[in-house]
Amino acid sequence: MTALTGVSVEPPLALLAELTHRCPLRCPYCSNPLELSRASAELDTATWRRVFAEAAELGVLQVHFSGGEPLVRRDLAELVAHATKFGLYVNLITSGIGLNADRLGRFVEAGLEHVQLSLQDAEPGSGDRIAGLAGAQQAKRQAAALVRAAGLPLTVNAVVHRQNLERLEAIIELAVQLGADRLEVAHVQYYGWALSNRAALLPSRDQLDVATATVEAARAQLAGRLVIDYVVPDYYAHRPKACMGGWGRRFLNVTPLGKVLPCHAAETLPGLRFPTVAEASLSDIWYYSPAFAHFRGTAWMAEPCRSCERREIDWGGCRCQAFALTGNAARTDPACSLSSDHLLLAVARHEAAGPAPDFVYRQHSAAPPRVADPAL
């Protein structure tokens, strides 16, 4: 199909369903926005059901239940059932806090296919400190055991940074011990909360090189037992990542309040108005909304992207990173060495050599409560 800009648009592959921003953890690299939404404003069960129906109709194949912590939604089993009924492959992305055998049994009955469990560290004291919750690490061990006992595939997602990288080998061992089929070793991506905590999180070049070698050795040693996916930090890259596989090309994201975004951080970009699921169908938003069309394809690009032979490989990198670092979302991602802003990353790398400041844990803002937005 051809949308607004004349760019050919394929149906999206996957939907990230951010069911809530509520979470018992306070990780300082949380991917949620700095302005967290509250429970009373969240989409209700019936609206999510309609969103799943529209997503399946649009061609979405997989839905990732995320948050916040999806387990805080009391209707989670019902939501899983609705999504699977429409043929969607359902993945639960969870901290594991609040999981018990009874609830998991109901999720399995409802058709849940897979669980991705977050892990903050191998060492319990450090894990609890990073998560901002005492006892978190122990709860994760129990959650992993429940997932295995239920016969579901388990992926452990370990977010790594300067304060846990020295224990990467132990993290990999723990993933094996927990019975994981897959381990995602994901370096922090610096948006929102993580950007606020960058100096406390960004590893040094040496730490990164050691980590990369550790992952490669573990892959060889654990072949056939544990699949390891590795997400590298683009602060040490020469070319940017193809963020989300390109703006509005593969993925869409629905926030707890029902806003439809090309990625979970896109709301930080000024000048774009993202429609809500109350205003239009997912299909209309995907194919016809100006916000999705805005950075789709290559027409929006300036140099050096415009004439770059990699423009349809990395799609100019990440719009949110370009905005966060340069103040202009339409500039080349500074992660690219061809960007005139590439030196901005050197400043950050310099910080990584200094002492790590205290974490700014994620939390609700101190702003006074407001009347709900009538548009929602």
Binding site: L13, N91, T155, G224, V227, F251
Partner: protein, 103 residues
């Protein structure tokens, strides 16, 4: 979430001709009506196999062994067996390594 464009670690060929493969639990190989194409849905994976890969995957039934699959394709496409094996074995090994298929 990754798609088929990811580069996979290749641990070398280990599966034998006598191996009987099936899709791992919670891996769905199905036809997608929107794209009019076969897709593989798996944990953290979404694969869009090309026509050749689909022909191979449709023979994964948990009963016939890898040799039998190669024989079937060699006869169907009137192509020398070793040419077919050269395509089929690395692909199946890759999918075993990704835990999409299992022995």
């Amino acid at each position: 979430m990754t798609t088929g464009t990811v580069k996979w670690f290749n641990a070398g060929l280990r599966i034998e001709g006598s191996a009987v493969l099936s899709f791992a639990p919670h891996v769905r190989f199905r036809f997608d009506d929107t794209r009019k194409a076969w897709v593989v849905l798996a944990p953290e994976r979404l694969l869009l196999p090309d026509d050749q890969a689909v022909e191979i995957l449709r023979l994964i039934d948990g009963e016939r062994d890898v040799d039998a699959i190669i024989d079937e394709l060699a006869s169907r496409f009137e192509t020398p067996r070793d040419v077919i094996a050269g395509d089929v074995l690395p692909m199946l090994q890759d999918l075993v390594d990704k835990k999409v298929l299992r022995q």
